[in-house]
Assembly symmetry: C2
């Protein structure tokens, strides 16, 4: 048996029993993980040091950048945060095994829809070592088996964390095969063909990487293609709020997917608004690409900007770069966003409720906001606890995706020997189709 | 602009406004469709007659079979059923625009999760003319634009029905471009590349067709791969119930995906159970494939059966053919189902609650049943009204999928100029993260 296939097969087998693990046991594992992480700080930092040493070498050879090394590096404070993260997942409400709906089909023939784990998840993530722990915690809490593939730069750190979590599963007499680690790109390619064993792939990474995964597998993919977020400053905007929001959305943390890439400004307020906000942005190091009309205003105020080309509107910068466009009406703003946006997060700044409502209804994005910074859209701020990713597709989940996105459901029908023939043809019995006033757990 | 691209583009544009159509208007369209179908029986039957004539010709040439012609043929009674179907969708509860969850992030910073239509659905369906009306009704009711592709044999009937529904949209001053019709396989191939315009493809048809679609598009696919359903007759079964259930599951309507393909029988009851039920099945024209142990028992009772080969266990017959296997324990039954089944519907016949519970928990199928026929698993019997299909995947929806499967959600964040910078770093404001006691509709 091939090695990767073997791991996937073991995960699948383990997933069947693992899916019904009770809440106490799952929380015990997570609490034990938190405890062991605390106890094993020193060897964990040592494993991380090996990765860092290798990374420094690659940095010298120009094969890595400084930002990656920063993300890779563990400190005692970061370990504290990871421990807090695990505890927070342990503290989250149990969502698996919940009765989602009930229906009496007929006297003694009862239908329950109950949430269950999806089964086997494969998550491919970046070089932050906390990602492995966060994803494993969410999968354990939801009752899913998981195949983990981390960034190759974090190899030793990931191995250490993986073995630590597996040890906790074993200590609680759970099947450690529910957690698997793969390490190479070739392994990932093999995974893509295993649609009989793996139920969902969650790739975190670049746009092109997610697209590659989507195009090369029949397995469902929960992916985050790109984050081209907009703020529209309406003619009814409180310009003071608008300035704060645009500045925050662009500069508070420009490297992330929910940062603003394009600022749309209503022509009625452009002359007043643009000079002020753009001066502040430029002073913070933001480079501007502006459309013709905006360019005129900026030039008049001696503010530097380049003329935006068509491709600018659909570029995700993740950097201190911003597109500026003047629009003549609300519809033009909405059209621009639906055409060039990535269905991630878009915000309107306006004091007019009717105009805001139109924006909310017609902008086809996973998060639409009124008078708030696009930077708010993430799992932690949305109260989901940890997130496995942000989905810019519209199927299964949308936007920041936490525990709930790792669940599906199962229909359970309990009868007394009922057959369909009795409900068809002449003298057919009728379905009662009325809601049952009981939960699955207590009902059977 | 290419023709198919143009249609998809028009559907996408129409979908934006169509998504917020209010319930009364959507129901008015559906009621008008029901009314017009009644008024236009004669021309509808005439359009259908043209299709039938062409089909008869193809039948003579051996290019079609009788069953297809039977499905294609409309009668006044069938039109009555179609009308009832449309009325029933109109009568269903509105699921679009519902507040799914709420959260106060901070005083004056409120998050709502609200159900919205997915956007543009492409549904590819078989030659039953009622499918076009059923799918259109569900898409209109949920607020989705839809691109329809019916069987080529139903060309004239589908055109007639398509124009009739479009007329009703126009009469209610809704954008008729929300409904599109494509007619050829080449059109379908073009559709597969339009992942910027189409949000979900629902292919109904053969296993190989669904797989072809899944392998050739980046668009999400809600598909039904196959229906290999099992009944397991446990050692604790009431054999009288078991006989009724197995007979119903195999013979009541063998051509459908929820019919039983394999009967698993516990060795402790095989000698008593098999001869009786198999005699009855054989008398109803069922051909048996049995494993060695079952074969011995059947031979002793002069009942005809062939020895099952490995491939029999994973074959969907949709016909009066049945696999029979004797298993020595519950675990063996569960393993068989998880290995050879298609995650559709599987049933245990047992009076023992603990054993039934284990079956329910460990069989990884969209419907698991106790003492009931697998034939119950469909949208109508499950109280969903009409269904767009049955999903054997585990993502988005599972099992019979109705209106709810055509919805996703949108996060709406309403602030007062809030920025993320205030919630990070030193002296960071804290999130309150408490449930809001109001709905989105009334809340803003």
């Amino acid at each position: 048996m091939n090695r990767v296939y073997g791991k996937a097969k073991n995960a699948k087998t383990a997933s069947i029993i693992f899916s019904s693990t009770n809440t106490e046991k799952k929380n015990s594992v997570l609490k034990r993980v938190a405890m062991l992480l605390n106890e094993k700080r020193q060897p964990l930092l040592e494993a991380n040091a090996v990765d860092l040493e290798n990374a420094e070498q690659l940095l010298k050879e120009g094969k890595l950048n400084n930002a990656l090394i920063k993300r890779l590096k563990l400190t005692s404070e970061k370990i504290d945060e990871i421990i807090e993260g695990v505890k927070s997942v342990a503290g989250q409400e149990e969502l698996t095994g919940k009765t989602l709906s009930t229906l009496e089909l007929d006297k003694g023939l009862e239908l329950y829809r109950v949430s269950v784990p999806i089964g086997v998840i494969c998550c491919i993530f970046e070089s932050r070592p906390d990602a492995l722990v966060q994803i494993s915690s969410l999968c354990i809490k939801s009752g899913n088996a998981v195949i983990l593939k981390g960034g190759s730069e974090a190899l030793e750190t990931n191995r250490f964390l993986f073995n630590l979590i597996r040890q906790c599963l074993e200590e609680e007499k759970l099947d450690k095969e529910a957690l698997q680690l793969i390490e190479t790109r070739a392994d990932v390619k093999e995974i893509l063909d295993l649609d009989g064993l793996i139920d969902l792939i969650i790739p975190r990474g670049s746009n092109s990487f997610v697209k590659f995964i989507q195009e090369n597998t029949r397995i469902a993919v929960l992916g985050h293609a790109s984050g081209i977020c907009h703020v529209f400053v309406d003619k009814e905007a409180d310009l003071c709020k608008a300035e704060k929001i645009c500045f925050d959305a662009k500069t508070q943390y420009p490297a992330v997917c929910n940062a603003m890439e394009t600022m749309l400004v209503h022509s009625a307020v452009a002359k007043e608004f643009l000079p002020k906000v753009c001066k502040k942005l430029i002073e913070s190091g933001v480079k501007l690409f502006a459309d013709k009309e905006a360019l005129v205003i900026l030039k008049e105020n001696n503010l530097a900007a380049e003329q935006a080309k068509q491709e600018n509107w659909s570029t995700e910068y993740n950097d201190l770069i911003l597109n500026v466009r003047i629009v003549n009406c609300l519809d033009e703003a909405i059209s621009h966003i639906n055409q060039f946006g990535s269905r991630h997060t878009d915000s309107i700044v306006s004091e007019d409720k009717e105009r805001s409502l139109k924006f909310i209804n017609m902008v086809d994005s996973s998060s639409v906001m009124v008078n708030a910074s696009t930077r708010f859209s993430d799992g932690y701020r949305y109260g989901l606890g940890a997130e496995v990713g942000i989905n810019t597709g519209k199927i299964h989940t949308r936007g920041p995706s936490g525990l709930e996105s790792l669940l599906t459901y199962k229909y359970i029908l309990v009868g007394q020997g009922n057959i369909v023939a009795d409900y068809s043809g002449k003298d057919a019995k009728k379905f009662s189709h009325k809601k049952l006033e009981k939960e699955w757990n207590s009902g059977y």
